[in-house]
């Protein structure tokens, strides 16, 4: 009998159920979408901020002090030690290797140009590398997305070079021209604008500069861009003075400092430092944005809960006559209540799943439209959202059910209540 009542209720009152179901679907969809986006937005903005450039630098421990004022190197570089280029792919093998978004090695040399000495910087543009079975490519094109090249980017295996924009103006060079460097003639692939000191230098493939410097396998500096966790008090502690458990926890957190330590382990005799300008400020910005989005997600959760419970209350209050009839036919209050609660629960489950799928779609739309990438939705979200939908739907109905039960059936059926 109970089940038949339940079944008939859904069959006969399709319009009303549709309205309530629509409210639950929309509420769950909004909550799902906002939680998914709110949780993921930190990671997305983190990647966006990595467009700011490197946040970790690796260089030999005994590298001489740079004595440069503006663009003038005032002391010839002493033949210090170098890092090994052949070790570079191992960067991918550190504990947080997958958080390394890009890196690029740099080797600088002074060469004899058409009018005096010039600075030539060797680096990777977009070099294919292999670590184990994993193939990837990295270089300045990824590390410094703001570098603007007029012409074409050189190939890492080629002999084309980029000339800084200010230098190009001074020398009157265009892309496609050739430039004589240390008696070698090289083709200019493009003109480079960075807004930094590269504007008055030549940027060339690393192999070419190693050849000019007679230093094979040598690298001066490596700039690394890694996804990091904002620094907190724990991150600033000295790992050497921690207990073993704390040290493990520190090592296994993607702090800029712990990634720097792991990089140091790859390059013996090297120093790895976080670039504070990038690393420190990112943290504040990220925590502001994530905090804001979580509050917004919370607000949408409240809005969704309100909408669902209002809709449920409305549909139940509209059915007072039904309650009166059941009561006059001898149904007890618990029976009536359980009927309504089961209805609400069924509605919550059905419309909740639909809402979850819709919310997923909305989150993906936002992700694609705003960040051009999909939004990761954790599977944990489904049971969480379903539980909330159930709670809100049944809870929202409860007050209305109690109110309907308190009414005198005689008055209700006469239409006086």
């Amino acid at each position: 009998m109970f089940l038949r009542l339940l079944y008939q209720s859904f069959r006969r009152q399709q319009r009303r159920k549709l309205l309530a179901g629509f409210a639950v679907t929309l509420g769950v969809a909004v909550a799902t979408a906002m939680i998914a986006v709110g949780v993921d937005v930190g990671d997305k903005i983190n990647r966006e901020l990595r467009g700011y450039g490197a946040n970790i630098v690796v260089y030999p421990d005994d590298q001489a002090l740079s004595v440069r004022v503006g663009d003038q190197e005032l002391k010839p570089a002493s033949p210090g030690t170098h890092l090994k280029e052949s070790t570079l792919p191992n960067i991918r093998g550190i504990f947080w290797g997958h958080n390394i978004l890009a890196f690029a090695p740099f080797l600088e040399e002074q060469v004899q140009g058409p009018s005096g000495t010039l600075r030539i910087i060797g680096t990777y543009f977009d070099k294919p590398l292999r670590f184990g079975t994993e193939e990837f490519s990295t270089g300045v094109e990824k590390l410094y997305p703001w570098w603007k090249v007029e012409g074409t980017w050189p190939r890492d295996s080629g002999t084309d070079v980029l000339v800084g924009s200010q230098l190009a103006t001074r020398l009157g060079k265009q892309p496609g021209d050739s430039i004589a460097l240390s008696r070698l003639s090289m083709r200019i692939g493009g003109i480079l604008t960075t807004g930094g000191s590269e504007d008055v230098a030549i940027v060339a493939p690393l192999a070419l500069v190693q050849q000019l410097a007679h230093a094979s396998d040598a690298v001066d500096k490596i700039y690394v861009s890694a996804l990091t966790k904002p620094e907190d008090a724990f991150a600033r502690r000295d790992p050497d003075r921690m207990t073993a458990a704390d040290r493990d926890r520190w090592y296994c957190s993607p702090y800029a400092n712990s990634i720097a330590l792991q990089l140091r382990e790859v390059f013996p005799g090297a120093r790895a430092e976080q670039i504070r300008q990038a690393a420190q400020n990112e943290g504040t910005l990220l925590s502001h944005i994530s905090g804001m989005m979580l509050l917004i997600a919370l607000a949408s959760l409240i809005a969704a809960a309100l909408a669902v419970s209002a809709a449920m209350a409305t549909t139940i209050l509209e059915r007072r006559q039904e309650v009166g009839l059941m009561k006059s036919l001898g149904a007890t209050a618990p029976t009536i209540a359980s009927l309504f609660v089961s209805e609400a629960a069924l509605l919550a489950l059905g419309a909740g799943i639909l809402g979850f799928l819709l919310g997923d779609a909305i989150a993906q739309r936002i992700g694609q439209a705003v960040f051009h990438s999909s939004v990761a939705i954790t599977p944990v979200l489904l049971p969480m959202v379903m539980f909330l939908a159930l709670l809100v739907t049944v809870g929202g109905s409860a007050a209305a059910i109690l109110r309907a039960l308190k009414l005198d059936p005689v008055l209700v059926l006469r239409g006086d209540a």
Binding site: A23, K44, G51, L65, Q72, W146, R276, H288
Partner: protein
């Protein structure tokens, strides 16, 4: 006032005040909705400013450099300050290569310590210089040249001077290879003037780009450049966040509108007997509609005002808690909230009224 009009207002007043908690429920629903919408809209409008302000902690977004081997005009810093106003931070830098007593070359920079401290908040400094003869020593300078004594000598063009070490500077970048001394001291000893200005100008990417163009025309011969990586990251993050907030605001507004709509609809439907009685004793359809609309309008206006005040409070609390910044209530949000509330309330009243109009009053009164 005619009898008819005074009767109308009397019924309206009774409808609002004399009927238990039904108008109250509608009022609460609308107030909650307006609160939510006001809060998210205020945050949406204030977000851009806050993010732009956050990006200023990255330091300079514009540099002004003198041509190679020259210095800036003497009044360059104050000139730029007068152009940009007090919100901008302008820090002059002068550089010279000096030698330590161990004959090691090192770059010494003169700058205004108070200003650089405001500009580069990420500098990790053990103690900032106070006196004229105090210097900030870069971490790598300290470890390479073993300048760990409380004071040391620097030699510039055969002229020696004595500085006291105030603290160590860690940045992870080129600054660690330098020694920083107060600009006044630097100029007195070397008679070199600043060759570089680092400027942090407030505002969005577009505003900063406009400032660059302005400075370029006011400082001919100087190289005025935007710090491209900073502006690019700022532009990207701000526009992304703006879109995300816009989508969120829209979704939240949609949900609360749905909530209000179903509450108001049911409150009108519940009153079909009032409606039937009014028609039965001879009031016209227009009067009845006007009465319901008047009620909805009154409730909507009160709710919009209450929601605006509450929502501004919520927005202020959120930005205080999250950004540690005070937001001033956005007046531009108010008309939007009022308009949305009134439209919503009228719409929510119209749909059930249209349905009721088709029914005979006698039928409703008989309870069919």
């Amino acid at each position: 006032m005619s009898v008819r009009a005074s009767m109308f207002f009397h019924v309206l007043k009774r409808g609002l005040l004399g009927r238990g908690n039904r108008p109250l429920i509608a009022f609460i629903a609308l107030t909650v909705a307006s609160t939510m919408v006001t809060a998210t809209l205020s945050l949406y409008y204030g977000l851009e400013n806050k993010l732009n302000r956050d990006f200023r902690s990255y330091g300079a977004n514009i540099t002004v450099a003198a041509p190679e081997g020259q210095s800036l005009p003497t009044d360059a810093a104050s000139h730029v300050r007068s152009i940009l106003g007090i919100d901008a931070i302008v820090v002059p830098f002068a550089f010279a290569v000096m030698h330590t007593s161990g004959e090691e070359a090192v770059v010494v920079a003169g700058t205004e310590m108070d200003e650089v401290r405001r500009l580069n908040t990420w500098w990790s400094v053990s103690r900032w210089p106070n006196g004229d003869d105090e210097a900030l020593v870069g971490a790598r300078v300290e470890s390479h040249l073993r300048l760990t004594d409380a004071s040391f000598d620097l030699d510039f063009a055969g002229q020696k001077f004595h500085v006291r070490r105030s603290g160590m500077l860690k940045t992870g970048a080129d600054e660690e290879d330098r020694i920083y001394v107060p600009l006044g001291t630097f100029e007195r000893l070397t008679s070199l003037r600043p060759s570089l200005l680092e400027i942090s100008a407030p505002g969005s990417r577009e505003q900063v780009t406009a400032v660059v163009a302005q400075l370029q025309s006011r400082l001919p011969g100087m190289q005025v450049k935007p710090v491209r990586q900073l502006l690019q990251a700022q532009g990207a993050v701000v526009s992304r966040m703006r879109s995300v907030m816009f989508a969120s605001t829209l979704l939240i507004a949609l949900t609360v509108a749905l909530c209000v709509f179903s509450t108001l609809t049911s409150s009108v439907l519940e009153r079909r007997r009032d409606f039937a009685v009014m028609k039965a004793i001879g009031s016209s359809q227009i009067t009845v509609n006007a009465l319901f609309a008047g009620e909805a309008l009154t409730i909507a206006l009160c709710a919009a005002l209450a929601g605006y005040v509450l929502g501004s409070g919520v927005a202020a609390w959120i930005s205080q808690a999250n950004f540690h910044a005070i937001v001033t209530p956005q007046i531009s949000v108010l008309p939007l909230v009022i308009l949305a509330d009134v439209a919503l309330a009228l719409l929510a009243a119209t749909v059930p009224l249209a349905r009721l109009q088709r029914i005979e009053p006698a039928g409703i009164l008989k309870g069919e």
